[in-house]
Amino acid sequence: MRGIGIITACAALLFAAPPAGGQTDDDARLDRQAQIQQCRALLKQSLVFADTGDNDSALVLLAEALKCDPKNPDVFFHTGRLRLHTGDTTDATAVLQEGVAKAPLSTRLKLLLARVRIAAGAHEEAAELVKSVLAVKPREGEAHYLSGLIALAQADTVQAVDAWHRALQIALEGQAP
């Protein structure tokens, strides 16, 4: 029954899109827009499946979404996240690394990958990811948090406390009075 649900969802979303293969630049642009919309619809539907705990169906839809928009950072993020939830760390790492390569401006992709690499003990790689985020967003609280986690893993407690203090100052400053 679940398979039928996924097939129906995919078919409805795929057939809703206009036919590809435009001849002019305008047509190509419209095709591209349609694909992006289709990707968003598939992503949205996948999150509905994920919310109900049906990660397998969600991952099928995310794979379809990636075909429509192969550089969409949100699709990579949620694919990586769900792979982690299903305990597939190797696949999660590969997906997130691919995502970071294709969408290098995505902060949350980098931060999720950094978390995965910290858990795997790859502190140098994680530190590079965090550093690249902080270079662009110096007030990204989560990046300071992860920076502290890396420092702690490397037994640099002073650096860890300093990074976490900064993370907390940034995060708590932004809360309602």
Partner: protein, 373 residues
Amino acid sequence: MRFSLKWMRWLFIGAWLTAGGILLVPSASGAFRYLQEGMTAPPVEGKDLLTGETVSSERTEGANVIIVAFWATWSERSLEILEDLKALVADHPDGSIRIFAVNVENQTISADMRKLIEHTVTELDLPFPVLIDDELALFFEYGVIAVPSAAIMDSTGVLRFAPSGYSYTIRDRIVDTIEVLLGLKQPTEAVALRRGYVPTNTTSRYYLLALQLVNQRMYERALANLKPALEADSLFSGPHNLRGQIYLELDRLPEAAAEFAVAVQLDSTSVAAWAGWGHALLRQGQATAARAKLAAALALDGSYTPALLDLALCLAQEQKTGEALDSLRAARELNPQDPAVHYQLGQVFHLAGQTDSTVDAYHAALKILFPAP
């Protein structure tokens, strides 16, 4: 018998709070930063978690008492208050008491969290609706200080008692208030005191609008709405208190302190105003003066978390680390999911040179702020 262990724990906490100069039993209550007894509380509306039926605190025909209880599965005392409210409904099956249990588990609710909440509610078999507070909108609108907290309102929606946390004492006072509202009991002095100042309708309207604007961080617009609120009713302390909170947020500390002072002058039982005044003074480096205001807030409500946090900071600055940590542990006990509590604990440990404890406390705060996706 269900309360025996809890009661002992409260006795224990009470002993050291009293030893630290803080009275545990409040003579007023401060569950909500922005609301006080006598005001009309914002309506609660949403879908019942289990039935999907739309419910609203504004559609409670025939009810003499309306109760909104803020709770979470991670708070043991939340489960106790829900059990007791369930028993209360069983004692009054005529519909005179309407209850809305608002779950404030987290800002975002994952599928797993939702399942846990549903499971808990099913297990408790509650005879009243349970709503999930999406994005904690109601939590912020009410300015909830600790979990659990309850808003006890009369049939017109006016807040009559707002306890923060849950203890034997609070349970008894909730029952007293309800019995008075149901006409089963003559109001005692203590219950009568909680009626509070009732502002004019115009003032209430402007005030609640300002409150919504504050929650959307539209501070200048909120201040603009507080002006007509005060013009319509200059004796209501609420707008001064809210102005103080806004000035704190805008880092206009002397103005914040002045507003809180006026709020206290108008209503000396306003816990939020005393605590806000203390906070404004503390941020201006006036620790001794701040401590007196914070003590006044805690004398009114010993479980008012923001005052406990600031008092701890005052004590830590005076090198009284042990007392500071006691104050913070009390705050953590009341609200274990508040990252600010863990952060402050970490700061005091840091001042005391206890690195490992600093790391643990900071980590606890950060795990709440940045949970794994």
